[in-house]
């Protein structure tokens, strides 16, 4: 019950914040539009099989969702910032349940935000998510799960907002970059090998493949990678909380 209470609390706080909505919905759509326009000629000359708008419509969407790990971290640290930590500390609730609630709420809000960006991109920027858009939405939800677990686990493990944000500031852009978020990753070489370790790479590949439209051969791999990494991160967070208790 505590978990659901905190999930609802988190969802309400995040989806009610105009700053968050602007940053995670309007921001990505604007950047997709700018990049889609700016790189049109380059993509046309490169004969990639998809347009710049199509490419960035996927990769910048997954980048935005992955950036949501900062939101999840904020969900944990906000109690300290709003001085409510002591009030929650004296209440008869479990810390693990409360943290799982923050994780669940962050995941739901990121998933909603990701799907809204997908829908708006599809309507206003004509981005094609293939014949089975629900599969793309499922991939976005899986990525949101990964982003939420990354933010929450780093917040729990480091305990200090600056330290957790510092690590996220290093990890998130790196995984987005080698995942092809900013530019197309070549089919061979060191970057190609490194890209295997980025869950963003698998999600991007799966979504672009669905958009082509392809058979969706990367969907299973992308979902497995995201869910396994998420489970591992949340296990670490829970173990850390139990040890603290």
């Amino acid at each position: 019950m505590t978990t659901l209470l905190f999930a609802g609390h988190q969802l309400r706080l995040q989806l009610r914040s105009p700053g968050i909505l602007a940053l995670f919905i309007v921001g990505p759509l604007f950047i997709i539009f700018v990049f889609g326009q700016a790189f049109t000629a380059i993509f046309a000359a490169g004969n990639q099989g998809f347009s710049a708008m199509q490419y960035f419509g996927v990769t910048l969407l997954t980048m935005a969702v992955f950036q949501g790990s900062f939101l999840a971290s904020w969900a944990v640290f906000k109690e300290k910032r709003s001085n409510t930590e002591a009030r929650l500390g004296v209440a008869p609730i479990g810390r693990v349940s409360a943290t799982l609630g923050a994780f669940l709420g962050s995941w739901l809000s990121l998933a909603v935000i990701g799907c809204v960006v997908m829908a708006l991109g599809s309507v206003f920027l004509s981005i094609d998510y293939g014949d089975r858009p629900w599969l793309s939405a499922l991939l976005v939800c899986a990525e949101a799960l990964l982003a939420a677990s990354l933010g929450v686990s780093l917040a729990v493990v480091f305990g200090q907002e600056r330290a957790a944000n510092g690590v996220m500031n290093a990890i998130v852009p790196l995984l987005v970059f080698i995942g092809g978020g900013y530019t197309i990753i070549p089919d061979s070489g060191l970057l190609h090998e490194l890209a295997r370790f980025s869950p963003i790479r698998w999600i991007n590949l799966a979504m672009l493949d669905l958009a082509l439209p392809g058979p969706g051969e990367y969907v299973a791999a992308a979902l497995t990678f995201s869910l396994a990494a998420s489970a591992a991160l949340m296990t670490i967070a829970c173990l850390r909380l139990w040890r603290k208790r």
Binding site: N83, R87, V90, P92
Partner: protein, 313 residues
């Protein structure tokens, strides 16, 4: 009853709380006073379970409840309502949303939750502002909302940590009346403050803490006796009649009697309780008195006397 026995806590080389023992009886309004860094907040954090003590014990109701068997940590937590010194609520929530959220942590749901939240807001004088976002509140309203969030689940023990810091007199007055109302309802209250007159007006029992130790504890009267080595009575006379000072000095317990124009000052030993004899002597000598005053130390005098006047960091 809250029993604190030989509780200690150190942070590195600093002994924040040093072997403190206190007993807080049910229904008592217990004032915890002390200068900055005295260890009050550390002690409160240990009472509420936010901080583990290095040694000693804190027990509620002798460590046992009646019906449901021994008190577990959750049962103790349900008894406690904390009003922290810092404003502890969500600025983006409305007042009612804040109160409901914190009350729901104690298992309140549905109608019971709504009623509890409404009652807490009414208690804090915020019924009309329930739907306003907390960030739009004035300083005094925020302080009152801070209290409403801490008491909505109807705790038996309310801990108020400096609840009147930096607010307007109206809000302060409301908060002080609310604290008295909580005591009338039979709640046990632990109240920390820097305002001596608040403690003097509210608290039934007071402990003064300094450098991690309880340096004095008792009723106000008992604390005041700690710093008194004499008590004085001053009679203001209507006209400069001749006064037989020797007759006053022969009264039991009197140490000196002086006349300074129209002011007759008589000093006695502490506990002499000779006011009746003094007034009888005034009448016997036919002196006409316009005013009588006794020198009674304030709680502030006691506090400064016990903790010193040097500035604290």
């Amino acid at each position: 009853m809250i029993e604190i026995r030989n509780v200690s806590k150190s942070f590195g080389p600093t002994m924040a709380v040093d072997n403190v023992s206190l007993t807080i009886r049910d229904g008592e309004l217990f004032g915890l006073l002390g200068p900055n860094g005295a260890g009050k907040s550390t002690l409160i954090n240990m009472i509420t379970g936010l901080l583990a003590q290095d040694g000693g014990s804190v027990s509620f109701m002798n460590g046992a409840a009646g019906k449901a068997g021994p008190l577990d940590a959750k049962a103790v937590k349900r008894m406690i309502g904390l009003v922290p010194q810092d404003l502890a609520f969500y600025q983006n929530y409305s007042a009612i949303e804040n109160v409901k959220f914190f009350a729901s942590l104690y298992g309140l749901r549905g109608k019971a939750l709504s009623e509890a939240a409404e009652a807490a807001l009414a208690f804090a004088g915020l019924s009309d502002a329930g739907k306003k976002p907390a960030k739009a509140f004035s300083g005094g309203m925020k302080r009152r909302l801070n209290i409403a969030c801490g008491i909505a689940h109807d705790p038996r023990v309310v801990i108020l940590d400096e609840p009147t810091v930096g607010i307007d007199p109206q809000s302060r007055n409301h908060i002080l009346r609310s604290v008295e109302e909580l005591r009338r309802r039979g709640r046990t209250i632990i109240y920390t403050t820097h305002y001596m007159e608040e403690a003097e007006n509210l608290c039934t029992e007071i402990a003064i803490m300094d450098k991690g130790k309880i340096i004095a504890q008792g009723s106000q009267e008992r604390l005041k006796l700690l710093i008194k080595d004499s008590s004085g009575v001053t009679f203001t006379l209507k006209r400069p009649d001749p006064v037989d000072l020797g007759a006053f000095e022969r009264i039991r317990g009197v140490t000196t009697a002086k006349l300074d124009e129209l002011r007759l000052s008589v000093t006695s030993e502490v506990g002499a309780t000779n006011l009746n004899e003094l007034t009888a002597e005034v009448n016997r000598q036919g002196l006409i008195v316009t005013d009588i005053s006794t020198d009674s130390p304030s709680l502030e005098t006691v506090f400064l006397s016990l903790t010193g006047r040097s500035l604290r960091d």
